[in-house]
Amino acid sequence: MTLTTAATAPYERESGRHRLPQSLLAFYLVVWVILAVSPVDRHDWLLENLLAVSTVAALILTYRRFAFSDLSYVLITLFMILHAVGAHYTYAKVPFGFWMKDTFNLSRNHFDRIVHFAFGLLLAYPAYDVFLRAAKARKGWALLMATIAVISVSGLFEVIESWVAQLVSPELGDAYLGTQGDIWDAQKDMTMAIIGALITVGLTYVISKSVPSPVP
């Protein structure tokens, strides 16, 4: 079984080619359920999962209308798992982040920064997939649109975060935001996402140049 990419996936998913998306969904659900057991802070976990659950639901509901390529589903699943781990540990308390802080003498737990970077790195490709295959944009434009989508969605995310933080109790808001006392937190988060997106877009461009596209 070959892994389809944005360049090779046909618009209509062939019958009998649903195994991979189904397995990824099952895998995610198992991980999600395990991480739903006694999270560090139940309220924060709930808040973090509002968007995650809606995203997965949207992906399932739109599957018939538009199916991503296999590669996109793998990348999306990786990101959703990273986010599920972050939500379980309230981001600022992820053990891996603490380990990194001790090893590299960092000032704070950087796990949330890593996930912001992963947002750009892992989700720029699925965005490219949508623009190329659903919107039928040309390759160069689709890459530009994917970059714009990542930057603007991370900006929108920071805006929504600030609303949530102002709505709910301030102390939980801070945990959810994970500003960890840094006034430039929002800007640094967005920068990480942009860097991640630029790496993926650059790689996609280089690889698609060297591999002749089978799509006429």
Binding site: A137, W141, S152, S154, L156, V159, S162, I183
Partner: protein, 216 residues
């Protein structure tokens, strides 16, 4: 000289003349320098690209209005714009809101030129026509906030605070992005309403003249 050429030349001359007038004794010379880098680059790009990517005359007018507003803001270091101060007194605001107005204008005035750009040169169709300009505005606003935060940390801290224009608000970046998003959404709504009305008037004309043959 055609009408269009006359208007475009007039707009460019207006921007240059107004910039020179506003270059005289600005409230803070360093801030004025830093905040003028991007607009000057934009004007240069637009001038050089006007043959390759020609936008409508209306778009150039909108861009010029926005640049004029920004030039006024930069002359007064934003937080000291007299109109904003008058607004603060008249409507009992807790701060000078001129920068928020310009962020809103950024979304409201530049969405149409972007829509045109994507429609004409990326040949975007369907939902993409309305989605792309809004997301680009949001992405550019986020990018602007990142640049602001870099500038604020690189330059002297006191200058940085003015440049940030936060006036002591930790949510300033998010509110600025939201203002641009609202401006952009309003502009897109106007474009959609305008197109619907236009479609209706076209169909009314074709209904009232039965001799007109329907295109197959």
């Amino acid at each position: 000289m055609t009408y269009r050429k006359l208007v475009l030349t007039g707009l460019l001359l207006w921007y240059i003349a107004f910039s020179i007038a506003m270059a005289i004794a600005p409230a803070n010379r360093e801030f004025w320098m830093a905040a003028n880098i991007l607009p000057v680059m934009l004007v240069m790009v637009l001038t050089m690209a006007h043959r390759l990517f020609p936008l409508s005359t209306g778009s150039y007018v909108l861009i010029t209005i926005f640049l004029t507003l920004h030039t006024i803001g930069v002359h007064y270091t934003y937080a000291l714009v007299p109109f904003g101060g008058w607004l603060q007194q008249a409507l009992h605001f807790d701060r000078n809101h001129f920068d928020r107005i310009v962020h809103f204008s950024f979304g409201f005035l530049l969405t149409y030129p972007l829509e045109e750009w994507f429609r004409l040169f990326a040949r975007a169709r369907g939902w993409l026509i309305y989605y792309l300009p809004v997301m680009t505005i949001l992405g550019l606003s986020g990018f602007w906030e990142i640049l602001e935060s870099w500038a604020a940390r690189t330059f002297k801290p006191d200058l940085g605070l003015t440049f940030l224009g936060s006036q002591g608000d930790v949510w300033d970046a998010q509110k600025d992005m939201t203002a641009a998003l609202y401006g952009s959404l309003l502009c897109v709504a106007l474009i959609v309403v305008n197109r619907k009305l236009l479609e209706r008037s076209v169909s009314v004309i074709s209904d009232s003249s039965p001799s007109l043959e329907e295109p197959s």
